[in-house]
Symmetry: C2
Subunit: 594 residues, 2 copies
């Protein structure tokens, strides 16, 4: 078995840290949720991920996708596994019952996709956008489109894509050139070329539903001129639409996923949402995708960690320091402090990342189903605030963790046979797609933290401080760590205002410290969750000293070895606030002068 679903760790986060079953069951939509039901769903999901999807991972990487005559052949077993996925009803998991879904919490969907990504990132790319497309269409599409398409997406019978990027327009969607022209029947004809379209063509489903950003003839330039269209591969009358795959990319990783170039030649499509409001409609899908990508980073990190830990327990090399002599000349390398550091750094990032990801899943459910409109708004705001943090931090950590896992294997990790390099190669894309992590940082600082006079940052900090004040006193042994967190939240509050004030005269300044502010916020969230975890572990320690003791040790390890990054980040931010944006050498920007 290459991947063991970390069900106990997941249950710890859901039940002990987030109290999710109890909180969800207060919502009318999820009144029947309890810890047992959640456990049962995750066990099933874990079995599917480990037994059906994981065995296809290495082969998918080796084989890759093949392209010929406009058709894509996915790796052996991929299509069959997808059929099983649909038959088991997984696409419908968190879709509303009125659309044919199971109506279960988004939180479970988040855990499902963590496990699928861990098992096989390449395969998971195909159903990866299903839920985002569902959310986008159920919010913005006309009733006619919903009737036609939503059921097929909920069942997974048809897969969906997100067609944004063009060769000259990646981070800057305002440069898009694909054009849409209104027809007499109310449909549109789309013409243009898109690249990097995951699953743009595949051999898994009879039809593919493309969600395409394009520009109307009279639209203004820039991102305000974009509209969103639904363009199916096959039209309702069964004729082939004029959208074709012209090639697939050869990539560093996720080789089992077909990354397609798509040509639209007067392809028929229908408007989703309002004209000129395409980006807003697409962002429903994009935000869902960003949380999903965070879960990918988390899943890959977990899978790589499991491999590294197994190897570290098995490989013997040298006597570990401080170990008394045994019959063997060498100990398992897991006894070496240097290897323990590699493993604990991974473990803390994974467990902290999981708490953060699942918290966001819970927010999504609360934002949708809380009885109180003000509370729904609050949860929605918190989710929007933390989304770029989750996307960037969990994917940076996913890649970094895969590299640490490879390091545990030493030279054997560099040999493709071991398979550990695939995690590193696969993980690297998560820092780039669905908005690069640099874009996430700008989105976070400029559009979330600084917007509205810092309202959302203030709320985030108040939420943490309140929780710490209410629940902190029960565990004095974590008093130092609690102070460290409160120092950080004070810092974030003050610094957000200081940046707002400074940026009035120095518009570039926030861009130079956006990444630092994002990571600081990530640490505040994780430190808060680690404190909750440690408190919960202390409370339940007697029930299972090994398990809960491990959680407490991990919390302490996080504060001792990972949290100090805060000092580095504050050092950078403080220097920039004091000295202003850094001087960039002129020869960097002026080519001729170099």
């Amino acid at each position: 078995m290459t991947y063991q679903p970390p069900l106990r760790d997941m249950a710890f986060v859901l039940d002990d840290v987030l109290d999710a079953p109890a909180r969800l069951s207060t919502l009318t939509a999820h009144a029947d949720i309890d810890a047992g039901l959640m456990k049962q769903v995750l066990e099933e999901a874990g079995r599917f991920a480990a037994e059906v999807v994981a065995p296809l991972n290495a082969g998918g990487d080796r084989e890759g996708c093949r392209f010929a005559d406009g058709k894509v052949q996915t790796p052996a077993g991929f299509a069959a596994a997808y059929r099983q996925f649909c038959e088991a009803g997984w696409p419908a998991l968190a879709c509303a019952t009125k659309h044919g879904g199971q109506g279960l919490p988004h939180l479970l969907n988040c855990a499902l996709f963590e496990m699928l990504s861990a098992a096989n990132h390449g395969w998971t790319m195909y159903p990866g956008l299903l839920h985002g497309a569902y959310a986008c269409l159920s919010t913005h599409a006309s009733d006619a489109l919903k009737t036609q398409y939503l059921g097929k997406i909920v069942s997974g019978e048809w897969l969906a894509t997100m067609c944004l990027t063009e060769a000259h327009a990646g981070s800057d969607l305002g440069l898009l050139r694909t054009r849409a022209v209104l027809q007499d029947d109310g449909s549109y004809r789309l013409s243009g070329d898109k690249i990097f379209i995951s699953g743009g063509e595949q051999d898994m489903t009879d039809n593919i539903v493309h969600l395409v950003l394009a520009r109307l003839p009279d639209a203004p330039t820039g991102s305000k001129g974009l509209s969103l269209f639904l363009v199916p591969k096959f039209l309702p009358d069964g004729t082939r639409n004029a959208v074709h795959c012209t090639g697939i990319e050869h990539k560093m990783g996720i080789r089992g996923s077909a990354t397609c170039s798509m040509h639209f030649e007067q392809a028929t499509g229908w408007l989703v949402g309002d004209e000129g409001r395409g980006l807003a409609a697409m962002f429903v899908m994009m935000n869902s995708a960003r949380l999903h990508v965070g879960a990918q980073g988390l899943g890959i990190a977990e899978a790589a960690y499991q491999r590294a830990l197994a190897y570290a327990r098995e490989r013997t090399q040298s006597r570990a320091p401080g170990r008394t002599a045994t019959a063997n000349a060498a100990d398992p390398i897991v006894m070496q402090p240097a290897v323990q550091k590699l493993l604990m750094e991974q473990r803390c990032r994974i467990e902290g990342g999981r708490m953060l990801a699942y918290w966001s899943g819970l927010l999504l459910d609360l934002a949708e189903h809380d009885h109180d409109a003000g509370q729904r708004r609050l949860h929605h705001d918190r989710l929007e605030f933390i989304t770029p943090v989750i996307k960037a931090v969990l994917t940076d950590n996913g890649f970094q963790n895969a590299s640490l896992a490879l390091q545990v294997f030493g030279g054997h990790g560099y040999v493709t046979e071991t398979g550990i390099d695939q995690y590193l190669r696969d993980a690297r894309i998560t820092m780039i797609y669905e908005g690069s992590n640099e874009i996430q940082a700008i989105d976070f600082l400029l559009r979330k933290a600084l917007a509205d006079g810092g309202r959302r940052m203030t709320d985030f900090i108040a939420m943490i401080e309140q929780d710490v004040a209410q629940n902190g006193a029960s565990d004095d042994s974590l008093a130092t760590q609690k102070q460290q967190l409160l120092q950080l939240t004070r810092y974030l509050e003050q610094t957000t205002h200081a940046i707002a004030a400074a940026s009035a005269g120095q518009p570039q300044l926030p861009y130079f410290i956006a990444e630092e502010m994002l990571r600081l916020t990530g640490h505040a969230a994780m430190a808060w969750l680690w404190l909750k975890a440690a408190r919960s572990a202390t409370r339940q320690h007697a029930a299972d000293p090994l398990f809960y003791g491990g959680k407490r040790d991990s919390a302490c390890y996080y504060f001792a070895f990972l949290f100090p990054e805060v000092q580095q980040l504050c050092g950078v931010v403080d220097t920039c606030l004091a000295a202003g944006a850094p001087a960039i050498p002129s020869d960097l920007t002026h080519h001729d002068a170099a």
Copy 2:
């Protein structure tokens, strides 16, 4: 041209920062060295790297090596380029004239190998061990072996390998099982299997000189029982020796380099150095190799940076913040602060790394040729002290830089066509081979910094503080940065003693903070060199404001954005010193319990 030798940056380090030509010319062996001669050699070396070796880089990665019937076929063009390399006399560059070498400084050899690694890491693996083998044999081999082999190695006619690793013995060479039995004629018969032997078989040279660690029948267990042997592929009488390649690895990167499994079956070899002193003899080669690997990290980082910078200047996307409107809707992304950060982080690491690497090259020359024996010893000690720091820091940075360079390309960087992913894949091995970076950290803290009552750390700090005191006053604008450095050196001095004191009762403790102490020492060295660089740039500013202004800006950027890592590292070390080694969850080490 995919790689431009950074000759001006190199000359800045050699001439302006290190004053290398003047310092070398005080040595009898290098009395005729001046800046002009060094420049001329590096221009030639740069031309060779850029015009002959670099064009084979992408093809070497695509094609890889082929293995059949015990023979290895290297990628197209590799063997021919190697012949040109030898014809131009590059293998002999820094070998002594008495052995047929050119007798030029090691410092130039260091710069040569930076450029070769930048141009083509895979190809450079073949001649990569030549100089180490030369150093090892010229120090430890018998006159008979020297006569037979040294000339062929100096000319490059025969290549050399380092045969250490066995399947069960990587970091722990004490577990080696290859056996050597003395014969009546004074030769030995070696039997055993080695893995991960770079260039163990190839189609470039008529003969291959293997340097092999093995164990005599009566040798004690552990690393003290190892002896070093020279085992040629072809014996002096022309017969084929019983050493054969049994396969090559499929690797994540450096695919142009043949990584061989070697089988020794009663192969004939000769002892190098004394029986049981194999590790000491091999360490002459290993230390040379570690500095060489540091130069690889540097070279890869430079090459990746050049590609990223070119792309950032060419790719337009979005209006940069604070830019006034132009005719174009988008600016080159090099105008974006987020991209400037990606580039400046790379640039500071490269330029800092180059200063550190070349400083070590100069130390090597001074250690060999200073007139005063005490000075030779001092330079030798400093070189030994800084070698693990250079190996670990420059390779960590090389991989991290390659990842940042890829990030500049966005999605296009993930597509293999762009070629940027090769740098990331190639760079990853440098953190592992020639002693993993974890081994470097342990070597540094345990065997260098803490050894002899911290004598070498004290000397290192005194050297820096003295230099800062002597030369610091001339530039008040860097007063803050100077104070930051002096704070760090004070910290290192005190903390080294504190760790020594604490480790008496807690033998595991130093192992948990070895990496942090290594990186702190790296920052002390780089900050010291950046101050020297900034002072020199200020002095010469008027001569070329663009160039020297850029150096000053980079120095300030280093202190503002990279140096703050010091705060993180100190935070970790302080916590461990206060609280002791971290508690590691029991379920990590006890499998059954998990």
